[in-house]
Structures are given as structure tokens and as C-alpha cells.
């Protein structure tokens, strides 16, 4: 099933880090959205990137995928310097950006054809993979419907299909499960799990802790533009409880790490006008 999604990953010798940033910084005027971030994601990891609202998650993922230029610092994807060789770096990745980035006036098949050719696939391969992906995502029964007429969940599935059509070695997913029903969610998770089994690195942002906890082997937490924690779930649990094998949930870990920085904020028990 969808063998092509994993072919490239196996064909190459795995570098130590699939994603490596050094002092990655992005400023918007006086605001420092991402501050000297040193992030390492090993090849083949299912990596969850967490943070409260406005912490810099989307800014980071945009810089890692070429949608936003860093103010300073460097990005290496599979040892390819993004700034020096953006085209080669982009060839290795698949992206489901915020808002999905679909061309809404194409049909699903036309869109997949377009994306396949953008990544240099030949027509036959694009055709074959498109059909397979549409079947897998249960989108094949509406061939004449343009994307604008798809539901949100269907658009999400199509965006993921487009992100994997060329067999990327790293997959960046910005809130892939947002607005997706349980059935579609199961389809997406099955595909992602299969891909990591075959060595694809997945970098995922989500606000749903349960999903990250269930899918990801490693997690990083960003707060106010700075990386405040990074490691495997076990390492993070050990860091919080002081012992390995504890049953601390990811939500508890997240709150204890991010909550620390918010400790100075006044903690209101109740709102005065709702007494």
C-alpha cells in the first residue's frame, strides 16, 4: 500500500539528523517570534512540535519549509543547507501547510497531477500514484468535483495526498488533524504510521496532546520563541517526575513546562462578574 511514499527514504543512506537548525531566528519588527533555536530531529522520527498559541510553532514550520525566510541562523534538511540549495532541500520534503495550500479550482486528480509534475515525476508515475492516493483517501468517487466544493476534512486528506505523492523523506504537517472527523483521522494516522515505519521523518504540530502522545516518539516544546524542552517522551517524563517509567501524560508534561513560564501571571479562581 502506497509503497512509493517510502521508497525514497529507504533508497538513501540516512544522515544523523533529518532536520537540524542552528540559532534559527525570526523577527517581525520588534517581536522575536523564534529566538536562536537549535533543533535536531533524527531521521525516521515521528516528531511532535508543541507550544502554546503564539509560541512560534507556525513561524518555525514556515521557515523549515521555505515559506518564510529566517532573519538569521541556518537550516539543514538531510544535511542539505536550505539557504544554499533550496530547490534540492525542497525536493526531499512534503508539506501540508497552514491553510493547506490547495488550488481550489482544480479537481483532486488534476491537483495531484500538478503537484506530481512539480516534483519532477513523469506522467505515468503521477497518474498511477494519483489514482492510488485518491482510492486510499476515499476521494476517488467524485472525479469532477473541484476542490472548492470539498468539505474541510476532504481537503485535509487531499493536502496530505499531495504532500506524499513524490515520496518525501521528511513530511511537515501543520495541524493535520484539525477539523478532521474520526474516520478520516484514522486513515491519516494509518498512512503516517506506515511512513515512519519505513524511515520517513515526520514533523507535526498539533494542539491535541492525545494525538501527539499516541503518534510521536519524540517531542519538542517551544514557548515565546525559545525551545524549552526536547527529547523522547520517556526522557521528558523522567525530566518532570525524576524517575523513568512514570505515567505522566504529555498534557501534564506540557503544562508543567509551559506553565512554569506562565507562573508569574495572576491565577484567577473565578471571574468577578460570574460569581
Amino acid at each position: 500500500m502506497l509503497e512509493f511514499c517510502c521508497q525514497l527514504a529507504l533508497a538513501h543512506t540516512m544522515p544523523d539528523f533529518a532536520i537540524c537548525t542552528e540559532k534559527l531566528t525570526r523577527r517581525f519588527g520588534n517581536l522575536i517570534a523564534v529566538d536562536h533555536m537549535d533543533l535536531q530531529v533524527a531521521a525516521g522520527q515521528f516528531f511532535g512540535f508543541l507550544g502554546p498559541n503564539g509560541a512560534g510553532k507556525s513561524t518555525t514550520i514556515k521557515m523549515l519549509t521555505g515559506l518564510l525566510a529566517p532573519t538569521s541562523g541556518s537550516i539543514k534538511l538531510l544535511n542539505i543547507d536550505f539557504a544554499a540549495n533550496p530547490v534540492e532541500a525542497k525536493r526531499q520534503i512534503g508539506v501540508v501547510p497552514e491553510g493547506m495550500g490547495l488550488f481550489e479550482r482544480l479537481t483532486a486528480a488534476e491537483y495531484l497531477h500538478f503537484v506530481g509534475q512539480m516534483y519532477g515525476l513523469d506522467r505515468n508515475a503521477t497518474q498511477r500514484r494519483s489514482e492510488e492516493l485518491l482510492e486510499f483517501m476515499q476521494l476517488a468517487d467524485r472525479p469532477k468535483t473541484i476542490i472548492a466544493d470539498y468539505s474541510h476534512g476532504m481537503q485535509k486528506k487531499l493536502a496530505l495526498a499531495a504532500a506524499v505523492i513524490h515520496g518525501p523523506r521528511i513530511l511537515f504537517l501543520d495541524e493535520p488533524f484539525e477539523g478532521v472527523d474520526a474516520l478520516a483521522s484514522r486513515t491519516l494516522k494509518a498512512l503516517l504510521s506506515k511512513m515512519t515505519e519505513r524511515g520517513v521523518t515526520i514533523f507535526l504540530t498539533s494542539h491535541v496532546m492525545e494525538i501527539v502522545e499516541r503518534l510521536c516518539s519524540h517531542v519538542a516544546i517551544i514557548d515565546k520563541g525559545c525551545l524549552v524542552a526536547q527529547g523522547s517522551l520517556e526522557e521528558l517524563r523522567a525530566g518532570i517526575s525524576g524517575e523513568t517509567g512514570s505515567k505522566t501524560t504529555l498534557e501534564q508534561i506540557f503544562l508543567s513546562i509551559v506553565g512554569e513560564s506562565g507562573a508569574a501571571r495572576p491565577q484567577l479562581e473565578e471571574l468577578s462578574w460570574l460569581k
Binding site: T65, V87, A89, F103, E104, R105, F114, D141, D149, W273
Partner: protein, 549 residues
Amino acid sequence: MAEMTPSLNSIQQVRLVAGLRWRILRNSLRNKNKMFDLIGLFFAGIFSGVLVLGLAFAFYSGTHYFLSGGRTRGLVFLFWAIFLFWQFFPIFVAGFGGSFEFRTLLRFPFSMRAFYLLGLAYGFANFSALASLSWLFAMTLGAAAAMPRVLPAMLAAVALFVLMNVTLERLTGSWLEHILARRRSREFFVGFFLLAMISLQFLGPLTDRSLNSRYSSVLRTLPYFAPFPPSLAGRIIAGAARHEYADAFLGIAGLTLFVFLFSALLWRRFAAQYRGEEWSEAPSPAPASRIHAKKAPERDALRLLSPQVAAFVSKEFRYVTRNGFALLLLAMPLTLMVLFTSQFASRHPHVGGIALGADLFFPAMMGYLILILMAPSYNNFAYEGRGIQTYFTAPIRFREVFLAKNLMLVVILVAELSLSITVLAIWIGVPSPPFFFATLAAIIFFVAGQLPIANWSSLCFPRKLEFGSLRGQRNSGVAVWIMFAVQIVFGGACALVLSIGRWTGNFWLPAEIFAVLAAAAIGGYFASLDALSHVAEKKKEVLTEALCR
């Protein structure tokens, strides 16, 4: 238990919304690109202001002329002109403030009365209403100067006329919004509307061209329009001027009746919205039977291109064919050419004493067509929407994007111009070889020279446009001014070179000069692609911010 908030009255609620609109406008100016846009709009505003003032003077003079000369029946024409402008102009350019839907405020505890007043107040916040109010004010001044005793009747007529117009405009707008909520009906309407507008252009040549006979035929039809509001408004003043007060009161009663009728209908419409009428476009249900996707046809011609450029061209082609508005724009140049040819080159070959033969008409017509067809290229990414992100995440350089988009434009240009040249050749004949080749070379120079600037403008001043939508559809003000400036410069250069041929008596000289200029422009175009790729990298935030809204 929670404290209850005190309820606001309707006026307070309207005032709050006015404050909200002001803050939205003020905050939007913090965006640099919006600021540039505003500068563009400012200059457009100056032009519009001059136009409105000029016409206000005309309305003043017209009222004065009709009243002082005893031709009171003529006032009806002035009211009809204002009525038609007020009702139809918003459909053409509903872009002013179209981004804010006051229905979104319904989640707040608004009373129906406040909601109605708010809806009505919105009717005054557009260009057509403000211009019409200026002209009605000018008419009132004209009446006061020509015949002061009709002033009370004039004020009554104007007040009722304003109320009737604003109510009807909101009613039409609300119904249109309701009908156009679905994409397909929206596209159908846009297509129908544009075709109707183009068709209207042919009425002139089809009807008798004598001005006097036209005027008398309009006068003959005037009684049939007597029961309608503009005629009733004219009747009020005419009655007062002729001391036929019963007639004036009849006009007032008629106009009041229209105000009540439209108000009742508008109240009914707004009440449906107030109750929570659902306009959203739900995805169409999936068909029960499975239909297998047809294989995409192989396009051999595209095999000559790199896969990326071929994919872009293919996508651009699909976007053009699925955009009813763009398709109609493609039909427009040819339609206008037929119109102008029938007006100036066939039946009426002499305008201002100059014979419009093929040598003069051909380059002029080609220049005009290029102006129309080049305009969209100044906002190349208008219809990409969120898809623009793909251009930055895919392993491509932006030169490929531009190559594909410009190639598509050139294909359209070649097709349109070939068709137009064929029609012109059959209708008015082929121009002499020096003019023919000079025009062709000038077209290449004009297009290739403009493309780098148009591409740059698309990167720096992008504006998202919606498929099949009339509301809020306009390019960035700066992009429009850049286009005007560039076309004036290039048009001027072309006219100068063509004139050199006439002055020197060497009719082949312009063709030679244009050939050199065209070669230089093509070289410049290819040289610009890499530079524009760098600009695209720098401007990607501007692009994604503008198009991913």
C-alpha cells in the same frame, strides 16, 4: 449568579458599529501594502471627486436651465440619470467596503430595528450614494437659484427620492447577495451581467443615429415611465413650478408609496436574515455510483516544455477555462473590436475629418486590444489563493512560474490578435506592408517590454480576487497606477516611432526600429526572470499574506 448587562438602544448600537468600522480601517493602514493601496485609492479618489464635481455642475446647470426656461418636463431626465447611477453603479464596483459583512454582527444582541437601521446606513456608505447625494444637492441649489418658490417641493422630492433610492439599493443588494451565495449561480450571473453590458453597446449602432430623432423618441416613451419614482420626483417639482399643486401632491403620494413598499420588502428581507437565514455553500453530496476518473489527455505540445512549466501551463489553462469571468474577458476584446469597427471604420469611416483607413485603424485597434489583454498580468497571482504556498514549498524556481504564466498570456494574445487581424482584414482590408509589420513588431515590443514590470507588480502589489464574484474585486491601487504609467510610456514610445515614419517619409523605418526594440525587449524579458526569482523570495511573505486570507 452572573450580573445582567444593560441593553443598548438602536442608536447606540449603530454608533458602536460605526466605531468598529473606523477601527478596522485605521488598523488596516498599519499594513505597508495597504498603505500603498490607499495612496493609489487616494489618487483614484481625486479623479472621482473631479468627475462628481463636474457632473454636479452639470446637474446644477441642467436644473437651472429646465426651470428658468419653463421646460420642467426635462427634470425627469436628471432624476432618471441619478436613479440609474445609484442603482446600477454598486453592481459594477461593489468593492468599496465590501470586505465587511454586517450580518456577522448578528451574534450580538441587536434588535431588529437596529439591524434594519444599520443595513440602511450601509446604503449611504458607498460611492454611488455619495455621488448621487452631491448631484441632488447641486440640483437643489440649481432650483433655488432659478425658481426659489419651488424649493420646498424640491426638498420634499429630494428627501423622498433619497430614501426610496437607498432602500431600493439595499433591497436589490440583499437579494443579489442571497441569489449569489452559491458559486454556480454567482458565476452564471456574472456571465449574464457582462454579456448584457456588452450587448447594450450595440444598441447605439442599431438605432437611428440622429440626435434629434432619438430625443423625440425618448419623449414619446416618457409617459410610459410616469408611474416610476424618478418620473414622480420630476413631477413634484414640475407641478410646483406650474402651480399645479394637485399634480405635485400626487407625485409626493406616489413617491411615498414607493418608499413604504420598498421599506416593507426590505424589512421582510432583513427579518429573514435576522432570523438566521443560512446562505452558506455546503459541499455537494457525493454521487451514489462510483465514476472512475478519466485519464488526463496527453498534451504533446506541452512535451516541448520542462515538466514544471508544462504543469503550470496546464493548470493555468484549467483556471482560465473554469473562470467564467476570465472567459468573458477573453470574448470582450473581439466584441469591442467588432463594435468599434462598425462604428468608426465601416459605416462611419470619417471621425473628426480624419479618414480611418486600415493603416490608421489597424495599429490603433491592436494597441487597444493589447491594453485590455495585458491588464490582468499586473496581478498575475490574483486567483491562486492559498495555492501560492505550493510555489514556495515545491522544488522550483519562480522563473518557471513566470515563464508558464507569461506563456499562457502570450498564447491568449496570439489567438485573440490572430482572430482580430483576420476579422479586420475581411472587414476593412489589410494595411500596407510597412504598417502591418511595424504593428506586429510594436506588439512584440509592447508585450515583452511590459511583462517584466507586470511580473514585478504582481509580486510587490498582489491582491486576491475571488472566482465569479463582483464584490470587492479590484486590483491593488498601486498596481493599477503602475499599469497606467507603463502603458502611457510604451504607448507614447510606439506613437512616436510610428510618427517618425510619417515625418521622414520612410514608411519602413518604424518597422525596423520596432524590430530592434522588440529584440531588446525579449532579451530584457529573459534577463529579468532570474532577478524576479530573487524578488519573489524576498516578497513571499507579502504574497502569502495577501493571497492566503
